[in-house]
Amino acid sequence: MSDIFKNTIQNIANSQQIIIKDSSTQILASDLLFRITSIIEDAKKSMKHSKRRKLELQDIKTSFRIKKIESNLNSNFDFVPLLTSTNNRPLLVKDIINEPLQEYPIDSTLYIHWLSIEGVEPQIPENPIVENTKLQKFDYLNRVRKSSNIILGSKITGDGTHEIQVDVRQISSHSKITQELQILFDKIIQTYFSNSKEEKESILFLLANDSSIQPILIYLIDFIEENVKQNVKNIENLYILMKMLRSFIRNKAIKLDKISLRILPLIITCLINANIKSTKSLLYSDFCLLCSRTLSQLFLSILDQNNKIKARISNVFLSVLLNSHSSFRSLYGSLLGIASLDLESIRLVILPHIQILTLKFINHYIQFNHFNFSWKYQAFYCFHLLVSSIGSYYLVFTLDLDWQKNSKKNSNLKFQKQNLLLNEKKEIEKDSYKNESLIFTFLGESFIPFFYSPNLHLCDSLI
């Protein structure tokens, strides 16, 4: 730093035709550095007291005044550009006159609005849009705190705002819960907001094994529903919420029944959502996998017989797949979703559209000049998933055939039923053979390795 000052001092001395020794410029330069720092230090104080974060010329002026130095800074200094003559060109008066005028300073005006009305931030254009999940955390906790007071019989002071009333109705519409359960519920929610992993795991274990959560189940689903809506972009929070849902499904001591119909849309939104992005600690694909497993588990354990729902869900996924505007994330998610339903839906939904889908992915993948590389990779991942899901379909088929051979040897009665089923499948095979040959002609030999790729765990719940 002091080297710069050294040159400056030398230049100034030269212009005044004073000869200064090199050693003395060194001393002058170091002193200058000290003076300037102390002036800026005082200017910073002035800035601080004006509650600004930007140092301005007036602060330097104040600093001069503190140091009792007569400043040469003109009051109009703000409007005159600093004149530097580096290229020895004489500055013309014309240049200064012809310069565009500074904007005329506008007089300050005062505007008053409500930032909060009894603790609630009104959604008016003057206030920022609340999107930050951090804020909502506290908000939610507060509301839970308030509503818990109602349940426990204590009063709310003052007249409740509209928002509070909504809460009251939501909870009072269900049966009352005991104080112990209230504490448990609070604890579960607290752990969701806390950062400790161990606590979270212990809570997940509790949700998966304890029968006592049955009465508060509906509140927990309320809570999860609200948070899935709020945390659309926060993958880590969604991951924990999804884990909570999965532990509900795993829990054999509680009955989900109708509530499972409320869980379904949550999982589907998570799968189709295009806004989720992977973080350092959590990959998007892992999250999708968890969602798909939760979905398949839900169908295996609870909604097994319900083919109507299955058809409706696969239709939702199909509409996403065929939509030309949907992003690769939602394509990936919906492919996984279909694969997690069962083989039947793979056959019904994916196989007929295989050509369109492959074209969609391959086009993105093959275009080397594509400006967006991440798209290319996403396309590749989608394609990989597509092929491996079809692969798993055929793999199961071949496995079944092997099994059939073995069963013929045993010729047990038990397997006769199975044989009937397999015969049905043979017919299906004939239908799909066309599709298969189509894929082969389309992709050639490069397709084969994908067939038995290790990514088959996607459908392991089916096998």
Binding site: I66, S108, L115, S116, N142
Partner: protein
């Protein structure tokens, strides 16, 4: 000490064989035979240091060498002691650097600074920037920060075990140099482990403590803080009268209800007002009484004030100044919400005492909109001014490291409060007028007695503020002092004991203003330059058991952050308006002012 020096001189004379001089010295210093023995028995360490230090210190390399060795030793020590011992490193770094400059090893000093300043960047970046600019001995004399380092000792609390470790290390390696610095510039107080951990709020509190300079030795601070302070309100003050009126009102309402229900037989007893503790009976400060009319109107408004609590958050009214970025300096809304006052940088006050950088305070009349009086006393800019809650007195805080008390009738100050080591940035009256709190850039808060101008409390802690104090607020019951800092932290201090109650660190930028809600004091509001207003539960902060107790009662809140989350009731972000000032009106509506920032 003289004994030791005498011994050193005597030893030196004997060592070099100056027999004659020795004789003269012994007779002149009046050292007799029995004292000779006493002298000889003393440990030789310090004497050696005094005798030979000058020769050994000559080489500038030893500074860096010994500093690095100390650093390595601290880093390799056990984790429990690391945090404690690390505090020592910064003072030693500073004094090594200043010593080198003092001895004219400028280049070596700069080299030393460049090599090692990263160790302390995290906590002391501002001080380092100033230190870096110091180039020779004269600069040390001129710079106030360096002068403070020279003049005053660092206060450090160490547990007895880590202190022993440290001393053993210094003696082991024969670090005379470091021993000298520690001896001269650091005041180490050996304390119990319990006391050491009481400053921290929980086990998980990993905040690195720092060394503090206040100008006093730690022992003196502790003694000062143990003197009792009358923090109670004045007897029969407005607050009490209002409380009485409120109870009366409730009583009358209930009676009316009973009348309507026609149950005259049942009578309800009139509730008595709970007696407040710690009231000051005979005020020693004289001030003129408020006019009847004014007092009535204040009371009326206070009675109507809404009671705020956890469930009942305040309404916030935001006053935004447009087109004022860089022009506006300060602003305030009057307690009865009639006037908004703003100070502009072109020395105009738009629509009251004002303070100015020209070292004067001016009294303005709201009725005639004109300047009534000019008060000159400070030679340097005045940063803050405040009227006492009862009017008449006002106090100013200035760049010249002092605060002054004035009365409106006289143009000279009647009390001067000096003791801070840096600028006094903000100043507040205690609700009972008997005390004044000042916050300074030296990161400490002091409480002064108005009458005697003596300092009665120094609020500082190794885990205290990391930046200068920018805002202060007293709770309405006079028991708690809240302070906000440049680093965005807010600390609640107990005036009775002078200790930290709670530290809240959620703001990202300077806390520009703090205020407690009127009458009940349940809510603490803070405005910050990070474009937000935050509402804290002051009652909860008071009630939550601090330190170790907390961990046993429930592991639920063991996390420091979740504790803060409980305290933080709500945060209100503004669109792009740094909040300059906030204040509760007498009806408990929160007024916030700020200027709109344009993004460029």
């Amino acid at each position: 000490m003289t004994l030791r020096i005498n011994k050193a001189i005597w030893e030196y004379l004997r060592h070099n064989g100056y027999r004659q001089t020795e004789k003269h010295f012994l007779s002149e210093a009046q050292i007799e035979d029995h004292t000779k023995e006493l002298l000889l028995n003393q440990d030789t360490d310090i004497i050696d240091y005094i005798l030979f230090s000058k020769n050994s210190e000559a080489s500038p390399e030893t500074y860096e060498k010994s500093y690095l060795e100390l650093k390595n030793w601290i880093l390799s020590s056990l984790e429990i002691f690391q945090a404690e011992l690390f505090i020592l490193l910064y003072p030693i770094f500073v004094h090594c650097y200043l010593d080198l400059i003092r001895k004219d090893h400028i280049k070596e000093a700069q080299q030393f600074f460049e090599n090692n300043n990263y160790d302390h960047m995290a906590f002391h970046s501002e001080e380092l920037a100033i230190l870096k600019s110091i180039q020779n001995t004269r600069h040390i004399m001129e710079n106030s920060l360096a002068r403070n380092f020279e003049k005053y000792k660092f206060n450090i609390k160490l547990s007895s075990y880590s202190f022993e470790l440290f001393v053993a290390f210094l003696q082991d390696k024969n670090f005379k140099l470091l021993l000298g610095i520690v001896n001269q510039f650091i005041n180490i107080r050996v304390v119990d482990v319990k006391e050491l951990s009481s400053g921290r709020q929980s086990k998980n509190d990993i905040e690195q403590p720092t060394a503090i300079i206040t100008g006093e030795i730690q022992k003196d601070i502790d003694r000062l803080n143990s003197v009792p302070v009358q923090w109670g309100l004045l007897e029969n003050c407005i607050q009490d009268q209002v409380a009485e009126m409120k109870i009366q009102q409730k009583f009358e309402e209930e009676q009316k209800k009973l009348m309507q229900l026609k149950r005259r037989k049942r009578k309800i007893q009139k509730p008595t007002i709970p007696k407040q503790e710690n009231r000051i009976k005979n005020s020693t400060i004289l001030f003129p009484r408020l006019t009847q009319k004014l007092e009535e109107s204040i009371k009326e408004e206070l009675v109507q004030a809404e009671e705020l609590s956890q469930q009942n958050l305040p309404s916030i009214c935001l006053f935004t100044f447009f087109h004022s970025e860089g022009k506006i300096n300060c602003s305030e809304v009057s307690a009865e919400s009639r006037y908004v006052v703003a100070g502009f940088s072109d020395s105009t006050i738009r629509l009251v005492v004002s303070c100015s950088q020209d070292g004067t305070a001016r009294l303005w009349s709201l009725d005639t909109k004109s300047n009534l009086a000019i008060y000159k006393g400070h030679n340097y800019p005045i940063w803050d001014v405040q009227f006492s809650p009862l009017g008449y007195h006002f106090v100013t805080a200035s760049y010249d490291q002092s605060a002054m008390l004035w009365v409106t009738e006289r143009v000279f100050p009647i009390r001067v409060f000096s003791g801070h080591l840096s600028d006094v940035d903000c100043v507040r009256f205690h609700p009972n007028v008997h005390y004044i709190a000042t916050g300074s850039s030296d990161k400490t808060v002091r409480l002064w007695e108005t009458n005697t101008a003596n300092c009665v409390r120094i609020f500082c802690s190794p885990t205290g503020h990391r930046g200068g104090i920018t805002s202060l607020a007293f709770s309405p019951d006079g028991r708690i002092l809240a302070s906000g800092s440049e680093d965005g932290s807010i600390i609640l201090w107990d005036i009775g004991t002078g200790k930290i109650i709670r530290k809240m660190h959620q703001h990202e930028s300077t806390v520009s203003s703090l205020d407690f809600s009127v009458l009940d004091g349940n809510i603490l509001a803070s405005g910050s330059l990070d474009n937000s207003v935050k509402i804290w539960d002051a009652n909860m902060a008071r009630l939550l058991p601090d330190s170790s107790l907390f961990n046993f009662t429930s592991d639920f809140h063991s996390n420091e952050k979740s504790q803060q989350a409980v305290l933080l009731l709500k945060s209100f972000p503004t669109k792009n308006t740094p909040v300059m000032n906030i204040g509760f009106s007498r009806r408990n509506i929160l007024h916030a002012t700020g200027y709109f920032q344009t993004n460029k």
